[in-house]
């Protein structure tokens, strides 16, 4: 019985992230438009875009191989699995015993690898540029992410998200400078991974600066819809990751009743709204940096992660 209940919660979480992801994207776009005193598209516009794209015909390049056709679904599937592993409103999910932070990093890394392959597949120059830039970002963002994971797991004594989240809610967290550094580094990595503004602009199609959009330039129809859905899922995943690691208040623990679950869902949505607002304000106030400065930006994130782990070493050994 308990297993069925847990499974039900897990499936509910999967459906929740799937349903909320485009809404989050629409919400951020709406706030950004409002900050510029424009009306902006309605909140539900991303859903309509996805529906429209699904109904459209797929235009394939002549020399596109099977990789090009399979890649969108693989990217979507890996991102969805990773998103379902992050506790959103409840910890102790059925899958969480099998997967931990490193598994999530690996899943996202393979999604990125597949997408970069697809960008190279057709052989256009833009796809190549996008893939090579994406790989440059990845080579710096992934070590930084792993350093953050090390810091957190050294502190909590586990790489499992559920136990890290439980530790962060517990009394023996204390006031630690390492955690602050890890949070800042995680935010920087999240900004870079999701192609948000200082690194890449999600709203532009200006050839010289785009990274993510350059890779998916050749996609159309339902392939594009699936990729767009995966991109908004990834954004939601990073929001949930930051929320469950650094703001774990209100998350229901394993085996709690329906009321706790409802509180969990409400607090999760409140956290998403607050995070989206912060991201929109930050993006409106910042200019995009040159591609060659991205390595400095991510190098700083890597440095913060390393430093967080080092400082932790001092405070633990004494």
């Amino acid at each position: 019985m308990a297993l069925i209940y847990d499974l039900f919660v897990q499936v509910a979480q999967l459906l929740l992230v799937l349903a909320l992801a485009p809404l989050l994207t629409g919400y951020i776009r709406k706030i950004k438009a409002n900050l510029l005193r424009r009306q902006g598209p309605p909140l539900l516009q991303p859903y309509r875009d996805l529906l429209k794209l699904i109904r459209k015909e797929v235009v394939l390049a002549e020399n596109a191989s099977w990789i090009f056709r399979v890649a969108p679904y693989l990217v979507f599937a890996t991102t969805l699995i990773a998103a379902s592993l992050v506790p959103t409103f409840a910890t102790g999910l059925v899958f969480s015993s099998a997967a931990d932070l490193i598994a999530i990093v690996a899943l996202l890394g393979s999604a990125r690898f597949i997408l970069a392959l697809a960008g190279l597949d057709v052989g256009t120059s833009f796809g190549g540029i996008g893939s090579s830039r994406e790989m440059m970002i990845a080579s710096l963002a992934e070590p930084a992410m792993l350093m953050i994971v090390f810091t957190l797991s050294l502190l909590a004594g586990s790489t499992q998200l559920s136990s890290v989240s439980a530790f962060m809610q517990g009394p023996d967290v204390g006031l630690r400078v390492s955690l602050g550094m890890a949070l800042v580094a995680l935010i920087m990595v999240a900004v870079a991974e999701n192609a948000r503004i200082p690194v890449d602009n999600p709203a532009t199609h200006l050839e010289l600066t785009m990274i993510h959009e350059a890779m998916i330039l050749e996609y159309s129809g339902r392939h594009l819809a699936v990729i767009e859905a995966a991109a908004s899922l990834k954004l939601l995943l990073y929001f949930s990751l930051i929320a469950c690691l650094f703001a774990p208040w209100g998350i229901a623990t394993a085996g709690q009743g329906v009321v706790a679950m409802a509180i969990g869902v409400a607090s999760y949505i409140a956290k998403l709204a607050a995070g989206g607002l912060l991201l929109a304000v930050f993006e409106t106030g910042t200019a995009k940096m040159r591609v060659f400065r991205v390595s400095d930006f991510l190098g700083a994130a890597l440095m913060l992660g390393l430093l967080a782990a080092l400082l932790l070493f001092v405070s633990r050994s004494v």
């Binding site: 400095d296 700083a300 440095m303 430093l307 070493f313 050994s317 004494v318």
Partner: protein, 220 residues
Amino acid sequence: MDHLSLDVAHMFAGGLVLVSFMLLYQDRMFGLLNIFALHAVVVSLSVAWQAYIQFAPHLYITAAIALVVKAIIIPVALHRIIVRLGIHRTIETVGGIGLTMLAGIGLVALSIMVMLPITAEAGTLTREDLAFSLAVILLGLLMMISRRNAISQIIGFMSIENGLILAATAAKGMPLVVEISVAFSILVALTVIGIFLFRIRERFDTVDVYELERFRGGHP
């Protein structure tokens, strides 16, 4: 000593190391000055907190001196020097920023590995502060050798002095006379360096110290 006060001391000392890295990272003149002021504010907060938890009221004076001299007087004076020299442009670094950062991380690791074993008998706070202050001193030295602009070398020098203050507070504080004379010698150093900067500029039309190395007498 309870857990929270140690955690706060750790936070300030670790924050100081972080601000040292920000000094290494920053490559604009005025940004560098602001971060240097932040460095001094963090060191004085750290000293004040240790005065509070060690019940050592004379450390409050150290904190106040650090705050007034290094967070207000020196940045303002350097700001005026920079404006008068007309050099609010980007600093060139020797080697890339990434390389300098990696070297900095190595130095922090080194100072932790050196300090923790040799201070095994000392108290928790002392060990931690000594390790971090050595890291801050080494990072200041790294900044002095990785920059070619005289102003940023001065800032590296001043940040070394902040590390020394942290080390002194860890060892239950230094005598007040010493503290005051160090503060004044820093001010005197600033005056000398300021005059020197203008002399360099007058002679070479730049404050890039590489020009000095190339100079072998005669008229440039």
